[in-house]
Symmetry: C2
Subunit: 304 residues, 2 copies
């Protein structure tokens, strides 16, 4: 009953109006696993790095009970590198550099003992790789999938194949509109749920998130942050908190899925308060619960 | 203890991807008063129309217990006209025509018996006129103010004077950023509250609304509408529902102000479902309460 996370592990260089960081720890699998680690342990990641990947980053992940059995380390290879620059309002960014390096030929191999994984979080990678992962699993019964505009535009057929085999899709509002070709988010959600994943989460950044299931429309608030330092990894942190909490509780009822959306939102709110993975390195479950309660406080109003 | 509403009464011509309407009933005072009429009666409007304004529109307002004592009818004058065209996603619009007509020389005169009004809703008009209204009131103790980018850019000094004398400011997110010159909405809210109005509501359209007071940050969801026909008047309907409910209950506690934000959101959600004032003409308080309960359903999640 382990939680399997597949995605990128990377060096991120991030420039914001406030500060710049170079070669920070990044990648979707990194953020997802760190966020999930506050709910359930160990979590298992499958990914790839080069031999330039420093031991201190491996140690950091292991210190958070992230099991690295499935992390391939390519001798003489270089780790995936991404660099981006955020604009003044932090809502838009330019990608300055993408060096796939060892990720270019990445073939995700699921170690035998992880083939029985029942909870799986497919980070934002090529849908072809997401399918390769699913092909190796014996009986995954809760598959969470993330993606991005690049795959929606370039590999839509493969992505739709992934969706048919996923339980949850987590995307942002512009991606939802792109995937459904429909500007109204409620109609868009209906169209996307018909593609496969029966649980759809649409993240809206500073505007919170929407959850759509067969019977539920749920609107989660955003945490009112005065200072956003680095939006990188927010979506992955959401996915990690969401999946980690559901793995911890093993309860897929609608009410518990709502709670998981709030925990996901909480992890994303922590993530963006600091640079890179800084915030996710130094949390406690108590602080996470406090933030959950703050989400309650800001969204509660009385019955009539 | 009457509720006084000051604003425009107009002919609107609206073009959307779905339908066009010409010379429909419009104007901020119209939408505010119709929305408020479901909560409290009578409501009093102060505004101006020309002699071209049809009796059927006056009858319609009166049928909703809108008292027209303060509505000036200018002999041989032409009523304010606005025409706009909404784009495919309904989030952006072009103004095609603005003919101020009798509004150009409008001097709001508060009838004697309304000078004791304690609840006042200043619709989106020139701040100079909003000040003229306030100058005529004896002891307004709850003043709600609306404005727009045009006045923020062109009459900021006068607007800030209005804010100092208002209790509530209702604006949208882009207007908040413009007024505060601050992209982060939470910081923006702090800066705007320091300008005067101690209660600030930031409307975010399809993303709901935020309420800021001394002690409260409250995030209200948006009603998940599959079909938005005509966004015209949504903000005014919000203001009308919000102010009307507070006037009805005469309770300015934080919890009741939150309820008022939900009622405002409910009225806005009805408004955009149909063209012009159609939806606001045919509601019942029962349906309004049902929608309030739907807002509860979509935003409730469990304590931990």
């Amino acid at each position: 009953m382990s939680l399997l996370i597949v995605g990128s592990v990377a060096f991120d260089s991030v420039e914001t109006p406030f500060r710049s960081v170079d070669n920070a720890l990044g990648g979707s699998a990194t953020y997802i696993s760190l966020a999930a680690s506050y709910f359930t342990a160990p979590v298992y990641i499958v990914g790839v790095v080069g031999s330039d990947f420093p031991k201190r980053y491996l140690d950091l992940l292991e210190a958070h009970n992230v099991n690295l059995t499935g992390l391939q380390i390519v001798e003489d290879g270089l780790t995936f590198r991404w660099a981006g620059k955020y604009h003044y309002d932090l809502n838009t960014r330019d990608t300055l550099l993408t060096e796939l390096n060892v990720f270019e030929t990445f073939n995700p191999i699921i170690p035998d003992k992880l083939k029985k994984s029942t909870y799986v979080c497919l980070g934002n990678i090529d849908p072809t790789l997401q399918l390769k992962v699913l092909d190796q699993l014996e009986n995954p019964h809760f598959v969470v999938c993330d993606t991005m505009n690049y795959w929606i535009e370039g590999k839509q057929a493969e992505l739709k194949e992934v969706l048919k085999r996923s339980d949850v899709l987590i995307i942002n509002d512009s991606e939802a509109r792109l995937l459904s070709n429909e500007p109204n988010l409620i109609k868009s959600a209906k169209a996307i749920r018909e593609m496969g994943a029966k649980i759809l989460i649409i993240k809206k950044g500073e505007h919170g998130a929407l959850l759509f299931t067969e019977d539920v429309v749920f609107s989660a608030p955003a945490y009112p942050l005065e200072m956003i330092n680095d939006p990188t990894g927010a979506g992955d942190s959401f996915a990690g908190g969401f999946t980690g909490y559901l793995h911890k509780t093993q309860d897929l009822s609608p009410e518990n899925i709502k709670r998981a959306v709030i925990y996901g939102s909480a992890m994303a709110s922590f993530c963006v308060e600091q640079f890179s993975t800084e915030a996710l390195e130094n949390l406690s479950y108590l602080r996470v619960q406090d933030r959950y309660r703050e989400f309650l406080t800001i969204s509660r109003f009385d019955e009539i």
